[in-house]
């Protein structure tokens, strides 16, 4: 036992010596995650601010101006362009200069006054379906708000003030200003951690396979499990250091709160790193070359994980079959853990399911890849 530990320790030392030798590799494993979280933490935002709007006001009355003001003071739209003829609107949308067009027909104020129903047209660029959908909701709300007092006055006169009206009061918990960075930055953290740990392990081992140094190690009296431990421990340490770095950036730079317990956070992060290392080891047992390893990691793991983990696309929207698939994606659980623990202060009582699933997947993957690794060695 003691001997075994010594062997592992020596291997770890050798690995670290090798990593130190390759300065670029060290830089890549520490600096890359740092830069990625910094830049991508800003990039991943679903906040919609200041959409450029082109306005065609054919009425030019106090009423039409008031409606336009409803748009511009909402904080969502900026009136960048004004045109006189409806035909001129199209160009702005086509070339992407404006995402929204507002058309107020001539006689708008007069029709309102005579209690006819004037038409208000809003044209949205639907290329970005998500943004268009949200802008549509904003526009509807603004027009409804404009119309409400008009109806109220009419109702007061016609029905003797028996106005039935329901007011919805939205209240947002945990993230009242609905800033998306609190939601997205933990996602970026998880993503970067996964990519860095998986590539480091898979490429590190495949490289030795390619060069043939793995065979050399096999003819030494080192036992396979010592070999695996010796190979994995340095990556666990690097992975853990990376986790600390990216979480620190998320907290101190982006101001993502840490409402839950810090020890639990690090415990669960280590669990996740073990899983990704297992996946990396698995890739290395399947791949014959580094190029293959990278393609497998990229297409079989990174991309499906990014799309199916709930990182940007809500899992609840997915068809049942695909939703079932998301249950075997470790990134999904780590995202739920990170977001729950950081943003809502969720404790182990809330996150035990995710922790159990992560452990089950981690153990299964590690076990499978260690088995396969043994085979490769034999």
């Amino acid at each position: 036992m003691k001997e075994s530990l010594l062997v592992v320790f020596e291997m770890v030392r050798k690995e670290f010596y090798q990593i130190r030798q390759d300065k670029r590799m060290l830089a890549v494993s520490i600096v890359v995650p740092l830069i990625q979280v910094l830049v991508l933490g800003y990039a991943a935002t679903t906040d919609i601010k200041y959409t450029t709007m082109v306005v065609c006001d054919q009425d030019r009355t106090a009423q039409s101006r008031e409606l336009i003001e409803g748009f511009t003071t909402s904080g969502y739209f900026i009136q960048e362009y004004t045109v006189d003829r409806v035909e001129d609107l199209g160009r702005y949308i086509e070339e992407g200069d404006a995402a929204v067009a507002l058309v107020i027909p001539p006689g708008f104020a007069r029709d309102l006054f005579r209690r006819r129903t004037p038409q208000i047209q809003v044209i949205l660029d639907g290329t970005d379906a998500n943004t268009a959908n949200i802008l549509l909701a904003y526009a509807t709300r603004i027009v409804t708000a404009y119309a409400r007092p008009i109806v109220a006055r009419y109702a007061a006169r016609e029905t003797g003030n028996r106005l039935q009206r329901i007011d919805a009061e939205p209240r947002v918990w945990f993230n009242p200003e609905l800033s998306s960075s609190n939601f997205m930055v933990p996602g970026v953290v998880a993503l970067v951690l996964m990519i860095i740990t998986m590539t480091l392990t898979s490429l590190g081992i495949v490289k030795e396979k390619e060069i043939g140094t793995l065979e050399q190690l096999m003819v030494t009296p080192i036992k396979p499990h010592e070999l695996i431990l010796g190979k994995l421990i340095p990556f666990i340490i690097i992975g853990f250091v990376d986790a600390v770095i990216v979480l620190a950036v998320a907290h101190y730079w982006f101001g993502v709160p840490v409402r839950g317990s810090l020890p639990l956070l690090f415990f669960l992060s280590t669990l996740f790193i073990l899983t990704t290392l297992g996946l990396g080891l698995f890739v290395s047992t399947v791949a014959k070359s580094q190029q293959q390893a990278m393609l497998i990691a990229q297409f079989f793991f990174f991309m499906p994980f990014i799309f199916l983990s709930g990182f940007t696309f809500p899992i609840s929207n997915m068809p049942d079959v695909i939703r079932a698939v998301t249950y075997i994606i470790p990134l999904r659980y780590f995202l739920e853990i990170l977001r729950g623990l950081l943003l809502k202060g969720a404790g182990f009582a809330d996150l035990w399911f995710q922790a159990v699933m992560l452990s089950v997947i981690g153990v299964a993957v590690l076990w499978l890849s260690v088995l396969r690794f043994h085979k490769t060695l034999e």
Binding site: I120, G126, K207, L343
Partner: protein
């Protein structure tokens, strides 16, 4: 053709190498198609079926009418009733529900008395996008229920119904707001850049690692020939992959190309050149595949995904990042391909994007061929 003659052996050699590794070839061709099917079917930004909790303190016919209205939409799935705010909080913490509607005890009475009746919509804000849309949807449903009550009130006293404004939203290019129509063009760019950057950078670095690059260098071939020979096979593969995505997008998801196919392929060709240039550039500055891959991922995977406007609109990013996004060549490709595919834009509308991609390709290819030249001397 004469110019290409010395390049032929390299192309053949590269193809042979690719053939010997059918797994990689299979992945380069099959996986993009698998991805598009996944993206098309699984990904939807629309916030639907949000789990909804109900805390009805009123329990009157009026409150039930409103709740029925909310529960009967695609937006919300009514998953249960609760009796306290504490329960709502617990369910939010566990992530079981993310929206709750609270109806105060006085709701029905206020409504009948002609006072303003209030309801509360509680949302778990940790996912800002979902929360924002859920609030918008809930408010919209409550507002339309409120309008209907009003119209009913008009009818009851025998007055004319009156709607002051006829609001007519029109959505161009994608009237049903289908997410796949937005993502499919982006996916083409995403996959093209990835495969181009990563495969080129790795093939060159692999030869460097094995020392075979020197052998090629001492041959009478010029660096430009080597570059051409090494990139043409991957361009061919990527073009096949791009065509497969376009076809599948059309057949499965009705994403058709409204503009000119010629322009589209010109753009695909140019972005491939740019991606290959970026890959070569990486290969000239790194010596190991591991580092090459890391740098490729840093400069292609995540930026193409997050910085190009593929998923997150660039206009919402901070100014510094908007400037930085110009380095992600994919951004220009996305602008162009979305314009051509969805809006039917012609060359006059997108020439600037094409020009930028050409410049990007010229700069990266130029620098890397210079750096390769230096190594030989």
């Amino acid at each position: 053709m004469y110019m290409l003659k010395p390049v032929r052996p390299i192309i053949l050699k590269e193809f042979r190498q690719i053939r010997r590794d059918p797994t990689s070839l299979g992945m380069l061709l099959v996986l993009p198609t698998a991805l598009i099917i996944l993206v098309g079917y699984a990904l939807d930004f629309d916030v639907k079926h949000v789990p909804l909790l109900v805390y009805d303190q009123n329990r009157s016919p009026e409150s039930r009418a409103l709740l029925e209205r909310l529960g009967n939409t695609e937006s919300f799935d009514h998953i249960g009733d609760v009796m306290s705010y504490g329960e709502i909080e617990r369910m939010f913490l566990e992530g079981v529900a993310s929206v709750a509607i609270v109806i105060p005890p006085a709701f029905g009475r206020d409504l009948l008395a002609g006072r303003e009746a209030k309801v509360q919509i509680l949302v778990d804000g940790s996912d800002a996008n979902t929360a924002g849309q859920a609030v918008a949807n809930a408010s919209r449903i409550v507002a339309s229920h409120s309008t209907e009550l009003l119209l009913e009130a008009f009818r009851r006293v025998g007055r004319q119904e009156y709607v002051p404004i006829d609001f007519q939203p029109r959505i161009w290019y994608n009237p049903d707001l289908v997410t796949s129509r937005f993502l499919v063009p982006g996916l083409i760019g995403f996959i093209l850049v990835l495969t181009a950057v990563i495969s080129t950078s790795l093939t060159v670095v692999r030869e460097k690692e094995r020392g075979t690059m020197e052998q090629i260098m001492v041959s009478p071939l010029r660096p430009s020939h080597i570059i051409l020979g090494k990139t043409i096979p991957y361009m061919a593969i990527s073009l096949v992959a791009a065509t497969a995505i376009l076809l599948l997008g059309y057949l499965l998801f009705d994403v058709e190309v409204k503009g000119s196919l010629l322009l589209l392929y010109a753009a695909i060709f140019t972005i491939l050149l740019g991606g290959l240039g970026q890959g070569l550039l990486i290969s000239t500055i790194t010596d190991s595949q591991q580092v090459a891959f890391m740098v490729s991922v840093l400069s292609s995977l995540l930026p193409s995904f997050l910085l190009s406007g593929f998923v997150f609109p660039i206009s919402n990013m901070p100014v510094v990042l908007q400037v930085l996004s110009n380095l992600a060549v994919n951004k220009f490709f996305l602008n162009l391909i979305r314009g051509v595919m969805l809006k039917g834009a012609g060359l006059s509308a997108v020439w600037d994007q094409l020009l930028y991609m050409l410049i990007f390709a010229a700069v990266t290819l130029g620098i890397s061929s210079r750096r390769m030249q230096k190594r030989t001397l």
